[in-house]
Amino acid sequence: MKQGFFEIIENLPLAEKVYKILLSGDCSAITAPGQFVNIKLDGLYLRRPISVCDLDGDRLTLIYKVVGKGTEELSKLKSGRLDVLSGLGNGYDIEKSGDSPLLIGGGVGVPPLYLLAKRLVASGKKASVILGFNTKSEIFYEDEFKAIGCKTEVTTVDGSYGKNGFVTAALPEEYTHVYTCGPEPMLRAVYGAIKTSGQFSFEERMGCGFGACMGCTCETVAGYKRICRDGPVLFKEEIKWRT
């Protein structure tokens, strides 16, 4: 973890209520795809955690959806610097991927899979991707995943684009490992549907984002884990769904 200031290079709408912000700063603390950063915004007390979408030298790309005050404030910033805690969370373990990993993202759960896909492709893996959205207007990054050579399938709940239904409707026959991120109902569905091992990235309201406050603890097979520090990524075998 590092605290530092990042320059806003651009901050533009990407899809309905979804923005892409490009930052420049010291990214050296970010060691794995699936990690997140925690951003301080003027007038708001707690920082806002956002997962890392892409990384290139000192360039950091984040994609976020406007869901409340914090993300709304962030979407208005077009320049200046942000106070950022970077390199938070465990991130995905790419060693476990096998030869043909499957990446499944839902809505704003899609972004962290992009850096993961790049890393997997770079290490010679045949990564295929399923991107799930509610409707056509919310879709983003389909082309980006294709551009790095991933077989990419899009599903929409209302059938307005791609395959009609949930991400689980698009599961291929063969894959060696699953990496997924999205809303909990989707994670549960994926958990029930996949035949292989996998890594699941969870969301929870956080206090600090670095493991100090125990605000985001969940129960796992391996004991209590802090989503912000011991997570956000849990292995399939560890997961204990709350009833």
């Binding site: 605290q3 007390y45 707690l46 600090c208 603890t217």
Partner: protein, 303 residues
């Protein structure tokens, strides 16, 4: 050169800055960021007799200039704290540490305090009779003078180390409770714990916290904390550890003027992990600005 040293219940602190229990874990996370031995001391995560998961999530909500938490005393239980956490902590922190203790019965408090009293790295026992986020215990001990005195008396009988009672602000007359604790033998008091509060999610129309209510902390509560420290300082002679929304060196000086011998920093650690380091570094200049040579000279100066 500004003199930051203060004495808390017979132990000298290099400075009055103490990360508050529940906002600093056992120190490891922060030790990765800076040498936490610059701290006066710190109060580690509240310890109970048995292990506790705490409350279901969401445990955190945001408010204007503050936050709510309803963690509910998650901790591995006193035996694991002693066998696993304290040895690890010793590697990164070499001063006496403050052990924060909660309980659900007199026996709980006495047992857990006795166990921690035997650990040489523990300098003080901070007895939390004010946790608003647990049911059948915690705060209920801190809302009446009688039960506050009862806990104090029982713990004091069982331990050798100085006992600091952590008081609840959710009461009509905190000074009366402070006096009761002093009368029952407390070596010090710390205040304030969080203010009982809540937020409601407009989308679901249900409380934001799974626990319904939570404890409010952050700069929002500072003026309430300051008033209570001031009232208690007028009522008791034992040292007071002031806390509640402290986020700057100026706040620390204000707390000292109100009567605080030492100051705990809570929520601010979560927003700025370097908060305590920054405040310690800023104190000398702030003291010079307000013509303070020895911090210990101005304790209770506004009374």
């Amino acid at each position: 050169m500004a003199d930051l040293r203060v004495e808390l219940c017979g132990i000298e602190l290099d400075n009055p800055i103490i990360p508050a229990s529940g906002t600093f874990g056992y120190g490891y996370e922060f030790a990765e960021l800076y040498d936490i031995n610059i701290l006066g001391t710190f109060s580690f995560k509240g310890t109970t007799r048995e292990p506790r998961f705490g409350n279901p999530t969401p445990r955190i909500a945001e408010t204007a200039s503050g936050m709510l938490n309803a963690v509910g005393l998650q901790n591995p239980g006193v035996e694991k704290v002693i066998s696993e956490e304290l040895p690890k902590m010793k590697k990164v922190f070499h001063k006496k540490v403050m052990a924060n203790v909660s309980g659900f019965s007199l026996d709980d408090y006495v047992y857990t305090c006795e166990r921690l009293d035997s650990c040489e790295e523990v300098g003080w026992l901070e007895v939390n009779i004010s946790c608003p986020n647990v049911h059948g215990g915690g705060m209920s001990f801190g809302t009446s003078s009688e039960s506050a005195a009862e806990v104090t008396r029982a713990v004091k009988k069982a331990v050798k180390k100085p006992v600091i009672i952590k008081l609840s602000p959710n009461v009509t007359d905190i000074a009366e409770i402070a006096k009761a604790c002093e009368g029952a033998g407390a070596d010090g008091i710390s205040l304030i714990n969080t203010l009982l509060a809540m937020r409601i999610d407009l989308k679901t129309r249900k409380p934001l916290l799974k626990n319904t209510t939570g404890g409010l902390s952050g700069p929002a509560v500072f003026p309430v904390a300051l008033r209570m420290v001031y009232q208690c300082a007028k009522a008791v002679k034992i040292p007071i550890v002031g806390m509640g929304g402290v986020s700057s060196a100026e706040d620390v000086i204000e707390m000292a003027l109100a009567g605080a011998t030492a100051v705990e920093i809570g929520a601010e650690n979560l927003v700025n992990p370097f908060a305590c380091r920054d405040i310690i570094e800023a104190l000398p200049a702030a003291m010079e600005k307000y013509k303070i040579d020895k911090l210990s000279d101005i304790i209770g100066g506004a009374i």
